[in-house]
Symmetry: C2
Subunit: 132 residues, 2 copies
DNA sequence: TCGTGCCACGTACAAATGTACGTGTCGAAT
DNA sequence: ATTCGACACGTACATTTGTACGTGGCACGA
């Protein structure tokens, strides 16, 4: 299934914005990105073209401007990306990454609370047979 | 400080093995990697050369064979890598990644237990003023 | 109708990456 | 002395990535 080349780092940055602000024109994506870092319009345009070429988005001309729409769900891309990272950096074990994230990058009280309930939920799901 | 180019995915894979089996020769690294995936000896050799070129390792000839030693701590590289990923894929917020990891990739009971206590620890550390 | 701004689209191009070959050398076994 | 196996090391080369320029069309205001 869906065997497409993975997104490069920069492409992923653009894809994220596309997911966030929904179907959007190059200019809109560019505007959204400019707020975070300096980047040329044409560069964003190229990234979008490549993202579409790789099958992660599709586009159509909406009177004079090309409108891009995501063609892959964030969840899928995130899974592929993270799986790869975990594989290469931790040999497939994801716990070290989880540890790193909650130990090295601060989490605030709300997040601690969220994690706590998330864990309780998983735990009880596990205790009374869950589907695979 | 330490402004070095980041490691590519494949280089990271090699670096991980280097950290794992300590100072090692190309052959040793190669052997360790072959167990997981097919890869050419010369390719590993090139990766190691590049890793050293980027400053993440150093090497010396140990009678006939070049012995590589890591020059950067895993923790540092992991931080840089993960920071970048979180930035590009989640706009800097790491919680989505944590959620993804514990929800989408299964964690077993032991890990749930570990997480639970990890969280409790962080929580209490937070409650009674901890250093930054 | 002429200019001007906005954008699509083709093209460019250096650097990084993935992947490896070939040559030369040194030490060990024959 | 000859051969062979192991490696280092230089080199190669197609792709991918990051980053952008330039050309040309079209719509809108002057």
């Amino acid at each position: 299934m869906t065997e497409r080349p993975s997104l490069s780092k920069s492409e992923m940055e653009v894809a994220r914005v596309l997911w966030e602000i929904g179907p959007a024109t190059v200019r809109e994506i560019h505007a959204a990105m400019e707020q975070r870092r300096l980047i040329d319009f044409a560069t964003v345009q190229t990234y979008l073209r490549r993202i579409e070429g790789k099958g992660y988005a599709c586009s159509e001309l909406q009177n004079r401007a090309r409108l891009y729409t995501a063609a892959a769900r964030p969840k899928t891309v995130i899974r592929e990306t993270v799986d790869d990272l975990v594989e290469r950096l931790f040999g497939g074990d994801s716990m070290p990454l989880v540890r790193h994230l909650i130990e090295e990058r601060g989490i605030d009280s709300d997040e601690i609370e969220e994690l706590r309930s998330l864990i309780e939920r998983l735990d009880s799901e596990k205790k009374q047979g869950g589907e695979s």
